[in-house]
Point group: C2
DNA sequence: AGCTATTTGTATCTTGATTAAACAAACGGC
DNA sequence: GCCGTTTGTTTAATCAAGATACAAATAGCT
């Protein structure tokens, strides 16, 4: 039951019904492809005539195409329909503290080439130049891509959705940076920008691997790395909030008098489970970025710690176990607050998923209010699946399949 | 941008556009009443012809009626339209630990009579009998009510939305109680049941006082009493979650090793700000329900504490100040997690709003991640506004004005 | 009183959508 | 070569929005 906002509503016009059903057809082709008109009519519960008309329209608009004919036990063979992902590619960009990655993908998010690495520049102007050059090079190397639908950019920081300004990206040292217009001008392509945690959540929602039909419309992505980024999807829609900070679960407290967090407060979840927190737990003290005595520690990563834990290093195992427990305690807050169907966990620590999942689950059980909620599905998303890049691609590609807003 | 759920979608059929626009008209009449057809056409951005057709349909269905003609500077005078709230009343019921309250309201939520008080029975069967008798009596005393659209019941506990079972209501000692069917059978009316915190959020969203147009579609209601109940509304829709526990912010931790909470965990927000927590802070020790030495304390309520604070009692002031601080710290978690436009705070403690608002705001500022979010509007909802009863009424009345689900 | 300008509300026709039902096309098997 | 079956299309019916013209009501002015 949704209230119609009396100051912001959309009335239905003549073409609204058609728009709705067109998008449903597109979505079904996307998830069920290959699929025939008759199958569409059956799963949609409408007549084949209606499907034919919509399909012909989508064919004329080059959004789908007819492929091979399928097999049936008896009767006329169906002609299969496919999303026309050949002609419209997207470029995904993932800006991180030290490196920036580029990926060329088709409209369904499937990578069309290897991932390109670029240096990250702190100067916004320089960054735009590097990005634009990389994008042009990438597109030039792939002339088979007829046209590019746009560029999706993911940054580790807060982004204002309306203007696409990067409000604050601590690891990049950015405040109030306006990337979009410059990049759009330099590339001649539409540009979408989003926070990386949120983009990862989008990537999961729009993912097509395995059975895409079963991906829930209520999910949360928790990205654990330098900070803790969270993306919340409810009712198939990304939650942004009034001031673009919804989903900042990384800064909810576990203990008000807990360790100092980069945000200035004490006891944030992030201060317990970030990679830095885990490493400091291992070393038994704080790691200063510029302390000379920490030179060796600075090059020691979570991956190294996980290796040592697998090698039997008791201190590494203990550090991971503690992180696992705090991870679960924080996940309990997410479950109690949002109660999603599934929580995806990303970040380097997923390399140790088998080592941490039990402790995390135990902590989750400890603080969730019902048994059913305590069993909320947890799924690790390995680093090599590149959720941030897939999220960046989804920023551009997904709107083509989104539901029209009405009422 | 909303993803169409490929296994749960609704296609548009012939009447869908009309349904959408009809509901928009109804909603606008509800919020702008009295309003003319011409005004509707202007605010909707459609032709007067289209409005006339929809309005005539709604008139024929007796959902609205034509009232007096309005005034204009020049030209033909408009005929005003009103929601036909006369013929369809609703009964709201608020089941609390010791007492149960009944209210008769019209379809817009306006009370049609005084609030009736009944004894609460622990036995579900007895409770159903008491409720049904009270409802019948109430309707018999008001023969001017032509028909009753249903009964909305609010309980202090978890409710499974699909079946309307009360899964767990600690203060009533209920587990897995099925009120609806019995009550529906006894009264012959449809029955809706919901958790009280959520119902309060609904009450705010569907409220018509002052300028209803400005009520945000993203809001949270925090009800502070024996426990802490929270209702979250996003995109004009109540958030329930996969297992009906979404919005259990009362059991997010402020400190993992904080005071024991009724849920079994330590350091829940509820354990810091419930009425009991505030009172115990005042008395300097735990209050046992059956301890003989606490006889005097058991009859001492939060209202009494507020009176003493206003009288200058330093201990009372300190107890309230501490509660205010913890209230703000927990509100920060809500802001960081959901980032609503407005948070409504209900419960007895709102009687001391002027005493606590500054400390609460300061704590909120302390732990929110941006300045804009720290300024999230806080509004007290006094007890005498009966948000739970209005929420119960909205359970039955609001669906008539809800947006059709499509795509 | 009558005319004019103005606004509200209605009627009519066109366009475009879904729906139902008939029809054409393709195909395997007897 | 016919039959049953399934896919995909065509056609006519129905219904909604949109455009436009029109009728109705009203105040002000002459």
């Amino acid at each position: 039951m949704r209230r119609i906002n009396p100051s912001k509503f959309r009335i239905a016009h003549r073409g609204t019904s058609r728009d709705i059903n067109s998008q449903i057809v597109l979505s079904l082709v996307r998830t069920h492809q290959p699929i025939s008109r008759a199958d569409l009519a059956r799963t949609m519960g409408v007549s084949r005539a209606a499907v034919t008309l919509i399909v012909n329209d989508l064919l004329a608009r080059k959004l789908i195409f007819e492929g091979a004919t399928g097999e049936t036990v008896r009767g006329r063979k169906p002609t299969f329909l496919y999303i026309d992902s050949r002609s419209r590619a997207v470029v995904a960009a993932d800006i991180r503290a030290s490196q920036t990655f580029l990926m060329l993908a088709d409209l369904l998010g499937k990578p069309l080439a290897g991932i390109v690495s670029l240096p990250t520049r702190r100067e916004p102007k320089a960054m735009i130049e590097v990005l634009a050059a990389g994008i042009k090079k990438l597109l030039a190397e792939h002339p088979e891509v007829e046209s590019c639908a746009g560029v999706g950019v993911v940054v580790p920081g807060m982004v204002e959705h309306a203007t696409m300004r990067v409000l604050h990206a601590p690891t990049l040292g950015w405040r109030d940076v306006h990337l979009r217009d410059g990049l759009a001008a330099a590339t001649g392509l539409p540009v979408q920008i989003e926070n990386s945690g949120r983009a990862c959540a989008l990537a999961q929602m729009w993912s097509l691997r395995a059975d895409a039909v079963s991906i829930p419309s209520e999910l949360v992505f928790v990205s654990v790395s330098d900070g803790v980024g969270v993306g919340v999807i409810l009712n198939g829609e990304l939650l942004r909030g009034r001031h673009n900070i919804a989903g900042e679960f990384g800064h909810l407290p576990l203990s008000l008098d807990g360790p100092r967090c980069s945000c200035g407060a004490n006891g944030c979840w992030e201060a317990y489970i970030s990679n830095r927190a885990t490493l400091e737990r291992y070393f038994g003290r704080a790691i200063k970025a510029d302390g000379p005595e920490d030179a060796a520690h600075r090059t020691f990563t979570i991956d190294d710690l996980v290796s040592r834990a697998r090698g039997g290093d008791a201190k590494a195992i203990a550090a991971l176990a503690a992180t696992a427990r705090y991870l679960g305690l924080g996940l309990a807050s997410i479950v109690n607050a949002v109660n999603p169907t599934c929580i995806y966990v990303g970040g380097e620590i997923t390399a140790a998923w088998d080592l941490i999942v039990d402790a995390a689950r135990a902590a989750l059980v400890e603080r969730t209010v019902t048994a059913a909620a305590a069993e909320t599905e947890l799924r690790p998303v390995p680093v090599h699946e590149h959720p941030r890049l897939h999220g960046a691609a989804a920023l551009v590609a997904a709107p083509a399949f989104a539901a029209p807003v009405v009422a």
